[in-house]
């Protein structure tokens, strides 16, 4: 009996597998797509080579003065020369190690929180949150324990931006959670207060409240009582962003099924323990992306303190571009600023995506 022998398989058509196949499927699958691809390629061709040319190939990297900016492209000499001012503002030169040390301590101190294997995250984190601000205040401001005082009016540059952002985040998150709980509360008076607060702060632009804090707040306070300008700005940033955090957290609270509340109550937990042990951990996990987005917004919003004359990162760059010795450097300055802001914001968003994946426990409804 003859066994039937199958012929060997024909190889797939050359145009549907391999690099060619990929190209055809993804770039040239029809006349319209081909047109789009060509258009896209043209766009890339128009943007990318000139950009690289300007930023790297034709750029000046070395020198000290405006006269060293002789080539066609960007003049990074400007950024290099003013780098110290961009980072530290008017912080005294010989004291800048204190800022570096504070940043280093923050990074080293917070590092264990990002190590998955570390067990006592909660306890360690709380201790860190209690100790670090005092340490940072001592290092940055000083005035006691052997460090000379550097008043906040001399703070500036990226350092000031980071300080405002860090304080803003640390203050806005707890306040925002409380506000969200208040908005979901059964107590009508509390609810009304929280709703009013949240809607007010979400309704007005940040620069009007910053402006108010800078010129009007002292009118509201008893005579002789004065708050530091930076402190006032931070307070406003905290209150403003807390309202946004509150709305994000409220979304998480609403997504927790009623059964969870009832189960917690059935176990005899009171309000705060029910919230703290059962509801909030689940709700916060759900809204991590929203919270991180708010943090990114907060980080970007710190640039608005320019309106009240604080020398944050953006303002120090803007001021430097107005220096007659470095005229015509706006593009370089703003591009540098954009890159720095972008690295921070993009970094945070990438980290949040990772965190989200790691915390994903499959309880999606």
């Amino acid at each position: 009996m003859d066994t039937h022998v199958f012929k060997p398989d024909q190889p797939a058509p050359a145009l549907s597998v391999g690099p060619l196949g990929w190209l055809r499927a993804n770039l040239f699958s029809g006349w319209f797509n081909t047109l789009l691809t060509l258009l896209g390629l043209y766009l890339v061709w128009q943007i990318v080579p000139p950009l690289i040319d300007w930023a790297f190939i034709e750029a000046d990297w070395r020198g000290e003065t405006r006269a060293d900016c002789s080539r066609e492209g960007a003049c990074w000499v400007f950024v290099g020369e003013r780098f110290g001012q961009f980072m530290y503002g008017f912080y005294p030169q010989d004291q800048r190690w204190r800022v570096d040390l504070a940043v280093l301590l923050a990074v080293v101190g917070a590092a264990p929180l990002f190590v998955a294997a570390f067990r006592h995250k909660l306890r360690y984190g709380l201790a860190f949150l209690l100790v670090y601000p005092l340490l940072a205040w001592w290092l940055l401001h000083g005035g006691f324990l052997g460090l000379i005082a550097v008043p906040t009016s001399q703070w500036g540059g990226l350092m000031l931006t980071l300080v405002i952002a860090a304080v803003g985040i640390a203050g806005a998150l707890p306040l925002g959670i409380l506000l969200a709980l208040g908005r979901r509360s059964d107590l009508p008076a509390i609810k009304v207060l929280c709703v009013t607060f949240i809607e007010f702060w979400r309704g007005v632009p940040l620069i009007t409240v910053l402006f108010m804090s800078s010129v009007m707040l002292p009118l509201f306070l008893p005579e002789g009582m004065n708050l530091d300008k930076l402190l006032r700005a931070m307070l406003m940033v905290i209150l403003f962003e807390a309202a946004y955090i509150a709305e994000v957290v409220r979304g998480g609270l609403q997504a927790i099924p009623k059964g969870q509340y009832e189960a917690a109550q059935a176990m005899g937990l009171g309000y705060w323990r029910m919230m703290g042990l059962v509801v909030l951990p689940q709700a916060l996990k759900l809204v991590i992306p929203g919270i991180v987005n708010t943090f990114i917004a907060l980080f970007k919003d710190t640039s608005l303190v320019i309106i009240i004359g604080l020398f944050d990162f953006l303002n120090s760059i803007k001021r430097a571009t107005a220096d007659p010795a470095w005229l015509g450097m706006s593009t370089e300055g703003y591009v540098f600023a954009a890159v720095v802001y972008w690295i921070f914001c993009f970094g945070i968003s990438r980290y949040s995506q990772r965190l989200e994946r790691r915390l994903e426990t499959g309880h999606r409804h």
Binding site: G203, L206, I207, T208, K300, Y334, Y341, C345
Partner: protein, 393 residues
């Protein structure tokens, strides 16, 4: 086993949840009221003690300063109250143009993010990741100081056929104004539109009755072009054009779009479009594939699937975050103050505040305006959500 103390006997008030709730609320309200009163009292005392004028009487005083851009008639002898309207309209102008541009760009981006074309997808992703991670204020500065600032002056403007000019004073273009033929032209246009409506009704009725299609679109287009066109031939152009001309300092005449407006609109539209793009993408992705397939199996054509099935469902997801982006854009328009565009904040909470010295009144008015805008949009949103929710269940 020790006898449990009954809740009624010890610490009677604090262990009764209802009483506790009451106390808690009363204390909270009292604290807020006391705090508010404290602030109010301080302010009152401070104002009185320092002899600062208060009240809203200043709104009727003559302003006495000029404004770069005013959509309503304004001269220096007008009152501060009129300055308020000028500022408000300038704010709304930025918001409206910005919202339109951002929406168009955002929808294109959102669709591009889902394109089957790899290159287009990557380009859209790159755009979104770049622009949403840079502070809007920085983008405004970039446009104003780095893009428009270095443009040539009015005498060396880049021009398009000597009609449209681009320079560091902004964009100048011919401005239409009504001529004698304007009335007849509008009448003709109206007549054409009425005919179009009648025609499409008739076509629909015929289709329902006989199943025959009538080329409604093309015939409507012909009507709209032909009737007013005939009118132009008869009576002449409905508008006169005032063409910009170079004078000693500036290009005069025509419409001028000031560079401050261009910068802020460009920056805000580009920034907000990145967010809208993401919103649109997630909205379209939220419509399950089964819907598309079901629609296709009913025999709907591709365009009809999108128009009748996918988009209505996607909009339900898109619209709420979209409105909040619109609100953000409106609030961000206050950044105009940083480059001297005469918006609400820069004009009213800035110049007027300083000329009159009445910080509390001007700030209160400014904040109330923004609050009113966002609250009314919130209310509309809630109404919309309620309607959608009914459809859903």
């Amino acid at each position: 086993m020790p006898v449990a103390t009954s809740p009624g006997r010890r610490g009677s008030l604090l262990s009764d949840p209802q009483a506790r709730a009451w106390i808690f609320q009363v204390v909270a309200v009292a604290a807020v009221v006391a705090f508010g009163w404290f602030l109010f009292h301080n302010t009152q005392a401070n104002l009185q003690h320092r002899g600062i004028t208060s009240g809203f009487g200043f709104l009727d005083n003559a302003a006495g300063f000029g404004i770069t851009q005013h959509l309503i008639d304004y001269s220096e002898s007008d009152s501060y109250g009129r300055v308020f309207w000028v500022g408000l309209l300038n704010t709304l102008l930025v918001s409206v143009i910005g919202i339109i541009l951002a929406t168009v760009l955002g929808f294109v981006l959102g669709i591009a993010r889902l394109s089957s074309n790899w290159l287009i997808r990557q380009l859209a992703t790159a755009y979104i990741e770049v622009f949403r991670n840079i502070p809007p204020l920085l983008q405004i500065f970039f446009w104003y100081f780095a893009v428009i600032g270095p443009l040539p002056g009015p005498r060396d403007s880049l021009s398009l056929g000597n009609l449209i000019f681009l320079n560091n004073r902004g964009v100048q273009m011919p401005a239409p104004s009504a001529s004698e033929a304007y009335g007849p032209f509008m009448l003709a246009l109206l007549a054409a539109l009425v005919l179009v409506v009648l025609l499409s009704r008739w076509a629909r009725a015929r289709r329902l009755a006989t199943g025959e299609r009538f080329p409604v679109f093309w015939s409507s287009l012909a009507l709209v072009v032909a009737i007013p066109g005939a009118c132009v031939l008869l009576f002449g152009s409905p508008v006169n054009w005032s063409v910009p001309e170079l004078q000693r300092f500036n290009i005069r005449g025509g419409w001028v779009v000031i560079p401050e407006l261009v910068s802020i609109v460009m920056a805000l539209a580009i920034y907000t479009a990145a967010f809208i793009g993401e919103t649109v993408r997630s909205g379209i992705q939220a419509v399950s594939g089964g819907q598309t397939e079901a629609a296709a199996s009913l025999g709907l054509r591709h365009g009809q699937v999108l128009r009748l099935v996918v988009i209505p469902q996607a909009l339900r997801v898109i619209v709420p975050p979209l409105t909040s982006q619109y609100l953000n854009l409106t609030k961000n328009s206050s950044l105009a103050a940083a480059i001297g565009y005469p918006d609400m904040v820069s004009l009213f909470a800035g110049t007027v505040l300083n000329q009159t010295g009445q910080a509390i009144e001007t700030m209160a008015i400014t904040m109330s305006v923004y609050l009113a805008i966002s609250l009314s949009i919130s209310l509309l949103m809630n109404a919309y959500n309620a309607r959608i929710a009914l459809v859903e269940r």
